[in-house]
Amino acid sequence: MKRKITTMIVMTSMMLLGACGEPGVETPDADGTSTEAVETVEISVVGSTTVQPLAELLSEAYEAIDPNVLVTVSGGGSSVGVKSASEQSADIGMASREIKASEIQECPEIVIHTIARDGIAIVVNPDVDVDELSIDEARAIFAGEITDWSEVGGTPGIITVASREEGSGTRSAFEDLVMEDAFISATAILQPSNGAIRTTVVTTPGSITFISFGYLDDSTKPIAIDGAFPTPENVNEGSYPVVRPLNMVTYGEPTGAVAEWLEFILGEDGQAIVAAEGYLPIN
C-alpha cells in the first residue's frame, strides 16, 4: 500500500517535471554541455538501517528525475553513518538519532540535515490494562525498578520488559529520550529487529517494549506517555515527547549532485515520500 503511494508520487513528479521541462534539475552541469554527454555522478549513502529503506525510495525517485545520478545506499547503523561522513568514505551518512556531541567534537566539519522525524511508541501486550504511563514510570519499568503492573495502576502481574539490542538506533534514541542516565534492565528480552520485537510483545502476556511509529499496526497496543498517545498529530502539536530526527550527515556544506539530492528530499516531492512511508515530514 505504502509502496503504491510512493510509486504514484514518483510517477506524478516525473510527469510534472517532464511536462515543465524544468531546467537545472535535468542538467546539473553549469557549462551547458548537451545532456547526452553528461557523466553519471555517483552518490554513496551509508548508515542507519532505519533510514535506509527511506533513502532507497528517495534515491529511486530522484534517479527517475535525473538519470545521471546514481545513489547507492547501504546499511551499517547510525554510528557507521556518522563515521563514514566524518572520514569522507561516503558522501552522505545516515543516522536515526541526534548526532552526539562527541561525534561533532571529533569532526566539527560535519553538517547535519534533518530529513524527517520518527516517533517511538511504547507498546504493551493487548491484555495489559494500563493505558497511560508518565515518562518517569516508563523509565522505572524499563530500568527494572517497577516490576509489577499493579504499581502503575494495572491488574497485578509481572512486567516482562522487551527491548531492541545494544547499538540499535531505535534503542539509543529511546535511551536518550526516556532513559536518560538509567540503563535498560539486563533481564529484558532482546530481539534484533522491529518485526521480532513486535511479535514478542504481541504474544507475551504482561510485556512492554518500544517501537518506531512505522511498525505500529492493529496487533499492537500503544500507550499514552504523559497523557499523549503516539500519533503524528500529537507529535506535531509537541505533546508527544519521544521523537527522534532522521538525519543525513555530510562533510562540509554539500555541493553539486549531493546538494541537489538533499534539496529534492527536503522539497515537496521528497517530503511527500517521507509522509507516505509513515514518517513525519519536517515541516
Binding site: G77, E165, G167, F183, A188, T203, T204
Partner: protein, 299 residues
C-alpha cells in the same frame, strides 16, 4: 611417450591435486583463526583477557565487555540439548539398527534426514510460535517462555539427526559375531544391546555426540529467536534448581550475530574476541572427543 609414463604422470598429478584439496581445509581453518585473532587483539589488549572472561556485564555503550554470561548461556543451552537430545537420538539409532522392521525403518530414516534438511530459521520460527507459548504455561514467576528450556528443546531436535545417523552407523559396524555370540550364550535381546552392542559401538557414539555438541555450540539464528538474548548469568527463578532452564540467556554466537551490524571500534573487536572464545571452546570439545575415542578404543 609410452602409456606407462603417462600413467605415472597422471598418478603424480592426481596425488598433488588431492594433497592440495586436503591442505585447503587446514589453510582455511588457519586463515579464519588468524583473522579472527587479529581483529580480536585490540579488545584483548585494552579490556584484558581475564576481565572479559570473568565479567558478567556486557554493556558496549558503557565500555563494559564481559562475556562470562554468554559462555554460561552457550554451555547451559548445549547441556540442555544434550540431556534431551542424546537419549532420544540413541534410542532412535538402536531402534533403527536392531529392532525396526524394514518398512518402519523406511519411514523413520527419511524423516530424520528431512529433519536435518530443515533450515535453522524454520526451527526458530517453530520454537517462537509453538514452544515458547508452551514453556510459558509452566507456572513460575517471571517465566515468559523465552529462555534456555525452549532453546534446549529446539537445539535437541536440531542435533538429533547428526547423533542418530552416526550412532546408527556405529552400531551397524559392530561385527555380527558379537551379537550372535551374546545371543548364543543365552542373553536376551535387550541384554545383548545394552551390554554388548552399545559398549562395542561406544567410540562411534561418543564421536556422534561430540559432533552434535559442535553443532549445538555453533547454532545461531534459531537460538536468537527463542532464548531471549538477555545478557544475564542464568539463575534458578524458583526454589527448584532445574528452573535455571526457565531463565533467559544469550549465547556466544547470538552475541556476535545480534550486534555485529552496529559495532565499531572496540565493540567490534570485542565481538571478534567472542568469536575467538567460541573457536577455542569448539576446539576443546573436539579435542576431548578425540581423546575419549582413543580411550574407548583402548579399553
Amino acid at each position: 611417450m609410452t602409456s606407462g609414463t603417462r600413467r605415472t604422470g597422471i598418478e603424480k598429478a592426481m596425488k598433488t591435486v588431492l594433497l592440495i584439496s586436503a591442505l585447503a581445509s587446514v589453510l582455511i581453518v588457519l586463515l579464519i583463526f588468524i583473522f579472527t585473532m587479529k581483529e580480536a587483539t585490540p579488545a584483548f589488549r585494552e579490556i584484558g583477557v581475564w576481565k572479559m572472561l570473568s565479567d558478567t556485564t556486557w554493556r558496549p555503550g558503557n565500555d563494559q565487555f564481559g562475556i562470562l554470561a554468554m559462555i554460561a548461556g552457550s554451555g547451559l543451552v548445549t547441556l540442555g540439548a544434550v540431556l534431551i537430545g542424546v537419549p532420544l537420538a540413541l534410542g532412535t539409532a538402536v531402534f533403527l539398527s536392531e529392532i525396526a522392521p524394514c518398512w518402519i525403518a523406511g519411514i523413520v530414516r527419511p524423516s530424520i534426514e528431512l529433519l536435518a534438511g530443515i533450515p535453522s530459521v524454520v526451527y526458530g520460527l517453530f520454537g517462537m510460535v509453538v514452544l515458547v507459548p508452551l514453556v510459558r504455561t509452566i507456572p513460575a514467576p517471571g517465566n515468559a517462555g523465552y529462555g534456555l528450556l525452549a532453546a534446549s528443546i529446539v537445539l535437541a531436535v536440531m542435533i538429533l539427526p547428526t547423533i542418530a545417523n552416526i550412532s546408527e552407523f556405529a552400531i551397524r559396524s559392530v561385527p555380527k559375531g558379537y551379537k550372535e555370540g551374546s545371543l548364543a550364550l543365552g542373553a536376551t535381546k535387550w541384554e545383548t544391546i545394552s551390554r554388548v552392542i552399545i559398549p562395542a559401538a561406544k567410540p562411534g557414539i561418543i564421536s556422534a555426540v561430540v559432533l552434535g555438541l559442535g553443532r549445538a555450540l555453533g547454532e545461531t539464528i534459531a537460538m536468537i529467536m527463542v532464548i531471549g538474548n538477555s545478557v544475564i548469568l542464568p539463575t534458578a527463578i524458583t526454589d527448584n534448581p532445574l528452573s535455571i532452564f526457565l531463565s533467559r540467556a544469550r549465547t556466544l554466537t547470538g552475541n556476535i550475530a545480534v550486534e555485529i551490524s552496529y559495532a565499531t571500534g572496540i565493540h567490534e573487536s570485542a565481538l571478534f574476541a567472542t568469536g575467538v572464545v567460541l573457536f577455542i571452546l569448539i576446539m576443546l570439545v573436539n579435542g576431548s572427543a578425540r581423546f575419549l575415542m582413543k580411550m574407548g578404543v583402548k579399553s
